[in-house]
């Protein structure tokens, strides 16, 4: 006989981690691209 158990309800931790990673990666990527564009414009 198998004892089935519901997994713990901790999805909010997963959502928090995924949100932080997405925000940091997108923000850093955009920052780099803006810095690069500014540097290119300064060159010209």
């Amino acid at each position: 006989m198998f004892l089935l158990r519901e997994p713990p309800d901790n999805g909010s931790y997963m959502l928090a981690a995924y949100t932080i990673v997405a925000v940091v990666l997108v923000a850093y990527s955009l920052t780099l691209m803006v810095r690069a564009r500014n540097e290119e414009q300064r060159e010209q």
Binding site: R5, P7, P8, D9, N10, G11, Y13, M14, A16, A17, Y18, I20, V21, A22, V24, L25, V26, Y28, S29, L32, M33, R35, A36, E39, E40, R42, E43
Partner: protein, 252 residues
């Protein structure tokens, strides 16, 4: 070739470049970096969809286990970034090519961002599973030291004005910092620690179901692509800035 250790190195900055037009090469790096970064971000988004919607929830840990699909790739790419800092720094001390120093700086900056992600996602995963946000145990503590060390590396670079001197000292710190990476990887074998051992890169093979491993490998690929995009963009940016500063120095 001018040795970076010779007194004349600072006066000969920048050293002769093999590319016919260094500015065109830097702009090409920027373009390549933008494309790779965009593809990498799309890849990470696809990894999110796969992890959240198409990968089963682990029975014991629950949805929090899915933090692994962003935590492990961030750690892998951070260690890759710092390993590349060490290799490029060593090559800079040997060859004296300024581009190696610029690439080291780019990789260190991206590595610091990724390590910050590791240090944020780790405790969020640890709280529901271990019952605590943080433990002063070897794996976590040494990763925190690695983060501080490379923040120091970037601070050192901004505090020194002579380019050759900055590159030389930074290379030494970069090599020493990179030497921490294998120590951190092996810390779970060397010490008693609550941090789990590697689930894919272990001698007995992966200790997870195949679908979990596939999602993790997909996410690893996406994060690696994003790392390559970010580091290429940051390298192109660093090169353009250096070339502009060198023009101002020669014009003055």
């Amino acid at each position: 070739m001018t040795s970076p250790l010779s007194p004349s190195a600072s006066s000969s900055f920048p050293p002769s470049l093999t590319s016919s037009d260094p500015r065109a090469a830097a702009r090409r790096a920027l373009r390549t970096g933008r494309v790779l970064t965009s593809i990498g971000l799309l890849g990470v988004f696809a990894a999110y969809v796969r992890a959240i919607a198409f990968t089963a929830v682990e029975g014991t840990q629950g949805p929090a286990q899915k933090i692994m699909y962003v935590h492990v790739p961030s750690a892998w790419c951070a260690f890759l970034a710092f390993g590349i800092v060490g290799i490029c720094s060593g090559l800079y001390l040997w060859l004296g090519d300024r581009r190696l120093d610029t690439f080291s700086e780019a990789s260190a900056e991206v590595g610091v961002v990724l390590t910050a992600l590791v240090l944020m996602t780790g405790p969020i995963w640890g709280k529901p599973i271990w019952g605590t946000w943080w433990q002063w145990e070897p794996r976590l503590t040494s990763t925190l030291f690695l983060f501080f060390l490379f923040v120091g590396y970037l601070t050192l670079r901004r505090a020194m004005f002579d380019p050759a001197e900055r590159a030389r000292y930074s290379a030494v710190v970069g090599i020493l910092g990179a030497m921490l990476v294998p120590f951190i990887h092996l810390s779970v074998y060397m010490f008693r620690t609550i941090h789990p051992r590697p689930v894919v890169l272990n001698p007995e093979g992966p200790t997870m179901p195949g679908s979990f491993v596939a999602t993790l490998l997909f996410s690893l690929a996406a994060f690696t692509l994003l790392y390559l995009g970010l580091v290429t963009t940051r390298y192109g940016l660093g090169r353009l800035r250096e070339l502009r500063e060198a023009r101002h120095v020669s014009a003055a």
